[in-house]
Symmetry: C2
Subunit: 249 residues, 2 copies
């Protein structure tokens, strides 16, 4: 159907890098978008156009476009066409990692001080959040983490025993609750909230900071597919901790 001459040199001015065709098409479109060749909202080349331009099959072009769409760079409407996306928000992947791995990856020393490690009975609010009956047993740990001897996080955590029966039997000076729970449960969903406020009096004392020092507080709840696993309150001295991220299409 296509004339055989097409294989000569139809490819646009993108460097003919040693990539797969669908990658070259993506690069061509991506760089065009970056240069403003297609301002936001403008219609871009159709699949047929690109098939002709690159001399590939439609499936190849389609894959390139589908991936760009899932990356949020373009918008496609059946029956209408492909359009340069409106970047109307800054989105970035926020990753909350195991604090031990985090500190080690900075080449620093991690230590933990275990203040509470026991079974308790759940009050009304806690029972609701962990999906257990009021008065049922729950596991509770309160651990302060240090980076090179300086307090970095106060971790107050409740665990649903059904999710990790052996939770309390670990030595949390040698591993972390996050690690244990990742390994013994199949995490499926997580919620978090980030806020800035003063720590409680008790937390300030444990962290060795003034009660008026601002803290970055992360509250996180995780779930398996069927039940809550744990709820954690992570308190960080504001002067020693921040979250960073980057967004690039």
């Amino acid at each position: 159907m296509m004339d055989p001459a097409k294989s000569a040199a139809p490819v646009p001015s993108v460097s003919d890098s040693p990539k797969a065709p669908f990658t070259r098409i993506k690069l061509f479109l991506k760089s065009g978008l970056a240069e403003g060749r297609w301002p936001p909202g403008i219609q871009m080349p159709s699949e047929a156009d690109l098939v002709a331009q690159f001399g590939v099959s439609r499936m190849t072009v389609n894959r390139a476009l589908r991936e760009l769409q899932s990356e949020g760079l373009i918008q496609r409407v059946q029956g209408l066409g492909t359009f340069a996306a409106q970047l109307d928000r800054v989105a970035s992947t926020l990753t909350i990692r195991d604090i031990h791995a985090e500190i080690e990856s900075r080449g620093h020393r991690h230590e933990a001080n275990v203040h509470v490690q026991r079974e308790e009975t759940a009050g009304t609010a806690l029972a609701a959040q962990l999906g257990v009956a009021v008065g049922a047993a729950v596991f509770h740990t309160l651990i302060v983490h240090y980076e090179n001897g300086v307090s970095l996080q106060c971790e107050d955590r409740y665990v649903n025993p059904e999710a990790s029966l052996a939770y309390l039997q670990h030595d949390f000076t040698r591993t972390t609750p996050t690690r244990v729970l990742f390994d013994s449960t199949s995490l499926w969903r997580a919620q978090y909230q980030i806020e800035s406020m003063c720590a409680t009096r008790e937390e300030s004392r444990l962290l060795g900071i003034a009660a008026t020092d601002p803290c970055l507080i992360i509250t996180r709840r995780t779930f398996t597919a069927v039940q809550p696993i744990t709820i954690a309150r992570l308190v960080h001295p504001g002067s020693r901790f921040n979250l960073q991220g980057e967004f690039t299409p």
Copy 2:
């Protein structure tokens, strides 16, 4: 090559919803992962297995698997196979939206108080961050945003004039810098940092809070493909603002 009998009823126990085949395959694998049928690290069905099981072509299976991989649910190694992924971190998309849209979407009233809106000359640090010469002109705005009359954000922003020549000519009580810049530049990259600390004395005064109140501070830099656009310092009273997010595969 395949026996014709396969089309009878080979599809696994997933509800035969009115979806496209690749979607049904994704759902089948996703629910299996959620139920722990394939614990992390375990080898999953190969493409050939799924082709036989669902009676579809390999391209269809391949698409389902490729998408699951890009979602981080599975890991694929050429020559080895497909494996259930280790979920070893909690990742979530953090979205930073235009504050006006944010407040309106909560059904509340947004107002802005413009304290600074002028051209200034760049000092050394600022010039470096905005990619302009020392002493060059930069645009500066300082705006306090209110939600239902309560201060929510103090926005201190410097803009590279090359990125948005008309920046200063807008009425920022009727639109927001974020909106203007999104519309007049082609954002391509963004960096942010989130921290908890006290505001400066000036910022506390503008926000009407105590100088010792904890604040959530976001510092954001955005770039086009070729140059910095703007750098903003967004100060939020900790008691009135938090970031929330969720992560589900």
